[in-house]
C-alpha cells in the first residue's frame, strides 16, 4: 500500500495498487468507469487469496489438523474484521453469503415467507435493483402479501413524506436501497429506518453500492438487516455479507440445510447450529472470505473521509463536464449522490455510446442496469452509466468527455 495517513487523497496515489489498471485496451490506456458493476482488486487482496491457496487451503470448522485450523482462523478473522468495519455488535451477526442477492433472498425466505400473511404489506422503493425487488415479489406471491412502491421525484429522490403515510396496521417489512446503482441517489436510510421502527416494522438495507463509497455503521443506522457484496468494494466475487439484528436472526429458520449449519443430526431430527453458522450450510467460499478480510484491511489503511471527499470532487467535476455536452441529459440528479452518473444522449442509443467509448479503452455500462422499473419511471429504455471509484482521476473524466464527443461525431 502506498499511503496511510493522508488527509488529502488523490486517486493517482493508489492506482499502482490495482495491477489491472496498467493494461491497454484497443491500444489505449484502460479507463475503467464501470465500478458500480464491479470494482477492481488491489494487489493485497489478490496476494491474500493466492497465499490462502498456496499455504492454508483446507476445509474449515471441521478438521483437527494444522491446515484446517489455519484456514478456520483466517476465515473467522475476516468475519471479525467485517463486523468491526460495519460496527456490528458481534461477529456472529455477520453471515457470509454469495453476495447481496443471496442476502436478500435469505431474508425474504427465512423472514418473509415465514411471517408474511395474506393482505400484509411490504414496502420497497421505486429505485430498487432487481435483486431487492424480485425476491420480495416472489415471497409476496407465495404468501399473498402485497408489494407497495415508495415513489420518487424526477430527480431520483424518494418522497419521504409519502413513504411515512404508507404505513398501516398491515405493513410488515421495508426493503430499501442505500445508494441507487442507476441514479447514484444516497437515500436517507437512517430516517427511513427511524420511521419504520416508529411503526414497529423492520428494515433491510441493500448496501451493495454504499459500502464502496462511504463508511457504513449498521448500529448508527439502526438497520435490522444490511446486505452487501465483496466484489463491489474491491474484494472478490462470490462472497458477500448479510448483517442482521441478533434477535431477528435467532428467530429465523435456516435458509438452506446441509453441513456446518447443524449441531446434531439424527435421521429424523436436527438441532441447528448457533449464529452465524445456522445460515451457512455447506463449505463456503473460504478464499472469498479471506479475500474480503484483506479488502477490509486495505480500505482501513486509507482515510475514508478523505476518499469520500475525493470521490465527491470527481462526481462534481464529471457532472459539470458532462452537463456541458449538448444533447446530454443526466438521469438522476439527487442532492445527495454517490459517484455514479447515468446519462442519455440525444439521437444515440447507449449501446452505441458504449461500443464507441470501448474503442478508446473506456469501460462504461450500458443498458437497464438490472433496474427495468427505474428505466420505465424515467421513460427511457436504457442509459449509459459511468461510475467512479477511488482510483479514478479527473484526467480519465476528460477522456470520457472526449469519447462522448467522438460518438456524437460518428452519429452527426
Amino acid at each position: 500500500m502506498t499511503m496511510k495517513t493522508a488527509e488529502k487523497f488523490d486517486g493517482t496515489q493508489v492506482r499502482g495498487d490495482f495491477p489491472i489498471l496498467r493494461q491497454r485496451v484497443n491500444g489505449k490506456p484502460l479507463v475503467y468507469l464501470d465500478n458500480a458493476a464491479t470494482s477492481q482488486k488491489p494487489q493485497a487482496v489478490i496476494d491474500a487469496m493466492n497465499r490462502y491457496y498456496l499455504e492454508e487451503n483446507s476445509n474449515i470448522h471441521r478438521g483437527v489438523h494444522f491446515l484446517s485450523d489455519k484456514a478456520t482462523q483466517s476465515y473467522e478473522a475476516a468475519r471479525t474484521a467485517i463486523a468491526r468495519f460495519i460496527n456490528a455488535p458481534a461477529p456472529r451477526q455477520v453471515i457470509f453469503v454469495r453476495g447481496t442477492t443471496e442476502a436478500v433472498n435469505l431474508v425474504a425466505a427465512s423472514y418473509g415467507r415465514v411471517r408474511f400473511r395474506e393482505g400484509d404489506e411490504v414496502l420497497v422503493s421505486a429505485m430498487e435493483h432487481h435483486s431487492n425487488l424480485v425476491p420480495w415479489q416472489m415471497v409476496c406471491e407465495q404468501t399473498g402479501a402485497m408489494l407497495r412502491i415508495i415513489p420518487m421525484n424526477d430527480r431520483g429522490e424518494l418522497f419521504i413524506d409519502k413513504y411515512e403515510k404508507m404505513f398501516n396496521s398491515r405493513t410488515r417489512f421495508v426493503a430499501v436501497v442505500h445508494v441507487s446503482n442507476v441514479l447514484g441517489t444516497v437515500n436517507p436510510v437512517a430516517e427511513i429506518i427511524r420511521i419504520a421502527h416508529g411503526n414497529g416494522v423492520p428494515v433491510l438495507v441493500d448496501g451493495a453500492q454504499a459500502v464502496p463509497h462511504m463508511r457504513v455503521d449498521v448500529r448508527a443506522l439502526d438497520a435490522d438487516f444490511y446486505a452487501f457484496s465483496g466484489h463491489k468494494m474491491f474484494g472478490p466475487t462470490g462472497v458477500g455479507v448479510l448483517y442482521g439484528r441478533e434477535e431477528l436472526l435467532e428467530a429465523m429458520p435456516p435458509y438452506q440445510g446441509g453441513g456446518d449449519m447443524i449441531k446434531s443430526v439424527t435421521y429424523h431430527k436436527t438441532v441447528y447450529n448457533d449464529l452465524p453458522y445456522k445460515f451457512e450450510a455447506g463449505t463456503p467460499n473460504i478464499v472469498g472470505g479471506v479475500g474480503l478480510g484483506a479488502t477490509i484491511a486495505y480500505l482501513e489503511s486509507l482515510s475514508f473521509g478523505a476518499v469520500a471527499a475525493y470521490e465527491n470532487d470527481l462526481l462534481a467535476y464529471a457532472t459539470e463536464r458532462l452537463a456541458e455536452i449538448p444533447g446530454l441529459r443526466i438521469i438522476g440528479t439527487a442532492r445527495e449522490k454517490a459517484s455514479v452518473i447515468s446519462f442519455v444522449l440525444e439521437g444515440i442509443h447507449p449501446h452505441d455510446i458504449g461500443t464507441i467509448l470501448d474503442d478508446d479503452g473506456i469501460a462504461i455500462r450500458t443498458g437497464h442496469h438490472c433496474a427495468q422499473p427505474v428505466m420505465q419511471c424515467f421513460g427511457i429504455p436504457a442509459t449509459a452509466r459511468a461510475s467512479f471509484a477511488l482510483y479514478n482521476t479527473k484526467h480519465e473524466i476528460d477522456i470520457l468527455v472526449k469519447g462522448i464527443h467522438k460518438a456524437q461525431k460518428v452519429f452527426s
Partner: protein
Amino acid sequence: MSALRELYQEVILDHNKSPRNFGRLEHPDRKVDGYNPLCGDHFTIFLKLNGDVIEDIRFDGAGCAISKASASVMSSVVKGKTIAEAEELFGLFHRLVTGEGDPMEQVERLGKLAAFSGVSEFPARVKCATLAWHTLHTALRTGEHRTTTE
C-alpha cells in the same frame, strides 16, 4: 477507428436515422414482438403475406443503431421475397455477422446486408444485428407470439 468505421458504415447510419418501413401495418397476417432482455431493445414486426410471398412488412419499436438499421435494411430486402428466400438470407446474414465462413463471397446476394460485415468484430453486438431477423424468422415459422434473442 477503422473497426468502428467498419461497424458504423454509412448504410447503417442512414437506416438508423431514417428507417424504412417503420411503423405498423393495419390487419397484418403475422405480428411478432422481438425483445432482447439484455439491453431492452424491442421491435414488433408486421407482415402481410400473399401465399408464400412477403407482400408487405413494417417494423415498430426502439433499439440501438445496429438493431434499428438491421430491422430497416432487412425489411427492405425481404419485401417481395418468398419465405424460403427470406430464410436463406437470414442464414447468410447470420454467418456474416458471426464471422462464420466467408459469406462475403456471396456479396451479390447479400446486397445492402453486406454493410453489417463489421459486426463480426464486435461479438457483443451480434444480438443487436440479429434481433429483427430472429423476430422475422419466428413470424414466418409460427404466428403471433413473442421472440427473444436469449
